[in-house]
């Protein structure tokens, strides 16, 4: 049993609701109407395309193609993360892609405990689970990388002072990493604590709408929350760690040309 399809005319009519936020923006002179429209048009096109190729991927259902799809998503995530955290993609694509593939690999390895390999590598499981986990990697790493490198860039004295006290470069960078990780995981921990009370998570809602029982839906939700949080933390740590190997020169100075011109 699946969710009841919505007819396109109704969906189009429903989209008129967006006129309300636009009216509020106009009233408060928030200059976001154009970007709101562009974002929604982009979303519709992207999701339509996703639906088209996911239909194909689900039909073919080849583990190799599924893994190739994950690899493409990782590269797209790297581009989005560097762009949003003000870093230059060319400098960081290799360390970040390595960090995210390693984190995804480790979590999919652990998922074998609960799902047999055939199920996990089937498109119906791998693509949505991978997508949700990667989406969270993206949100977490935008915050950690932005915070980490901005900290090092705007508070160089702190780094230098710590080095002068005898810290190794890694020891001197650790407080910056801790600060960045704290900023990224605090809202997530708060969200986990109120899950089910304040909000019903998207995956669970999707499963219930798709016809699954709430009991099965919560099992998957707990599974995905553990996977998401663990991967986000591993990827954030590995991301900062591996990006640092490219970001510092042999004198332990932050290299120039790491950041996009703003």
């Amino acid at each position: 049993m699946g969710a009841r399809a919505i007819d396109l005319f109704s969906l189009g009519a429903f989209s008129l609701l967006l006129l309300i936020p636009m009216a509020i923006f106009l009233f408060l002179r928030v200059p976001k109407i154009r970007s709101l429209l562009i974002s929604f048009v982009r979303m519709v096109i992207q999701l339509t395309l996703v639906a088209l190729y996911l239909e194909t991927i689900f039909r073919i259902n080849s583990p190799l193609i599924n893994l190739g799809w994950i690899l493409i998503m990782v590269l797209v995530a790297c581009a989005a993360i560097t762009s949003q955290s003000g870093l230059r993609l060319i400098r960081f694509i290799i360390p970040l892609a390595t960090a995210y593939l390693l984190s995804l690999g480790s979590i999919f390895g652990a998922l074998f405990i609960v799902l047999e390999p055939q199920t996990l590598f089937s498109a119906r499981y791998l693509i949505p689970l991978g997508g949700m986990i990667l989406g969270n990697i993206l949100r977490t790493n935008v915050i950690t990388l932005d915070r980490y490198f901005n900290g090092l860039r705007t508070r160089p004295e702190e780094y230098i002072t710590t080095l002068s006290m005898g810290a190794s470069p890694w020891e001197a960078r650790k407080p910056f990493m801790a600060d960045a990780l704290k900023a990224a995981v605090s809202p997530q921990i708060a969200t986990i604590a109120t899950m089910g009370l304040v909000s019903l998570p998207g995956m669970m809602t999707g499963q219930i709408l798709g016809g699954n029982s709430p009991a099965v839906a919560i099992q998957y939700q707990i599974l995905i929350m553990i996977a998401i949080f663990t991967t986000a933390t591993i990827s954030a740590f590995l991301g900062m760690f591996l990006a640092s190997t490219r970001a510092f020169d042999s004198w332990q100075r932050l290299r120039t040309g790491l950041f996009q011109a703003r």
Partner: protein, 212 residues
């Protein structure tokens, strides 16, 4: 001990240091002064190898390189103009450097810490207070305590008396310059340093103007 040869620093089109030559002998006390933006702090960062520069930096007649950097830096005690925003207690801040792998074998010198704290007019309760809650002057004096506890042979001091009242300035300068074996390079607008230093240099627009 320390020699700078034709040190140049440029930030984009701006020339921060324009071919600095400097020799500092062991135990020498050097005061560098000059207007804001003349390159004083940058010069200290060059000495700490934290700045991009061209030219040569020699320590004991050997060029400092990435290979010799850890050993070279282990001889330096550096206090920057901006004080790090430690959120822990004063005692934890003072113990912090002794937790690094390089210092782990050194026991925390509690008696020496108490002695310096008393000398710098801190009361005994200071250890339990939060570093971030202290005034700029108190934080600056605590950075001096840290520097003296680490007991490095060369002190690089960037405006270390900027937030202090006259009484504390004299105490701090005296404390930092009285050991004959310590080499001190202090960058400061405060002329109190002149009385305690064996040499003073004026830096203007990235170059030394005069030697006294």
């Amino acid at each position: 001990m320390l020699r700078l040869e034709d040190i140049r620093v440029e930030h984009g089109n701006m020339k921060i240091l324009r071919g600095i030559h400097l020799e500092v002998k062991p135990g020498e006390k050097l005061w560098i002064h000059g207007p804001s933006g003349s390159g004083k702090s940058t010069l200290l960062k060059v000495l700490f190898c934290a700045e991009y520069f061209s030219g040569r930096l020699l320590f004991n007649d050997q060029a400092v390189s990435p290979r010799t950097l850890p050993d070279y830096r282990s001889r330096l005690g550096y206090i920057s103009q901006k004080i790090p925003g430690f959120s822990s207690s004063v005692e934890e801040v003072l113990r912090y450097p002794f937790m690094f792998r390089a210092n782990r074998r050194i026991p925390f010198p509690m008696n020496r810490a108490r002695e310096i704290l008393t000398r710098l007019r801190f009361d005994t309760h200071i250890m339990s207070r939060r570093f971030a809650d202290l005034s700029g002057g108190e934080q600056q004096r605590l950075m001096v305590v840290l520097l003296l506890l680490l007991d490095r042979p060369i002190f690089l001091l960037d405006e270390v008396t900027a937030a202090l009242d006259p009484d504390n300035i004299e105490t701090v300068v005296d404390l930092l310059t009285k050991a004959p074996d310590k080499t001190v390079i202090s960058v400061s607008h405060n002329s109190e340093w002149r009385r305690y230093c064996s040499r003073s240099l004026r830096l203007e627009a990235g170059d030394f103007m005069e030697t006294v």
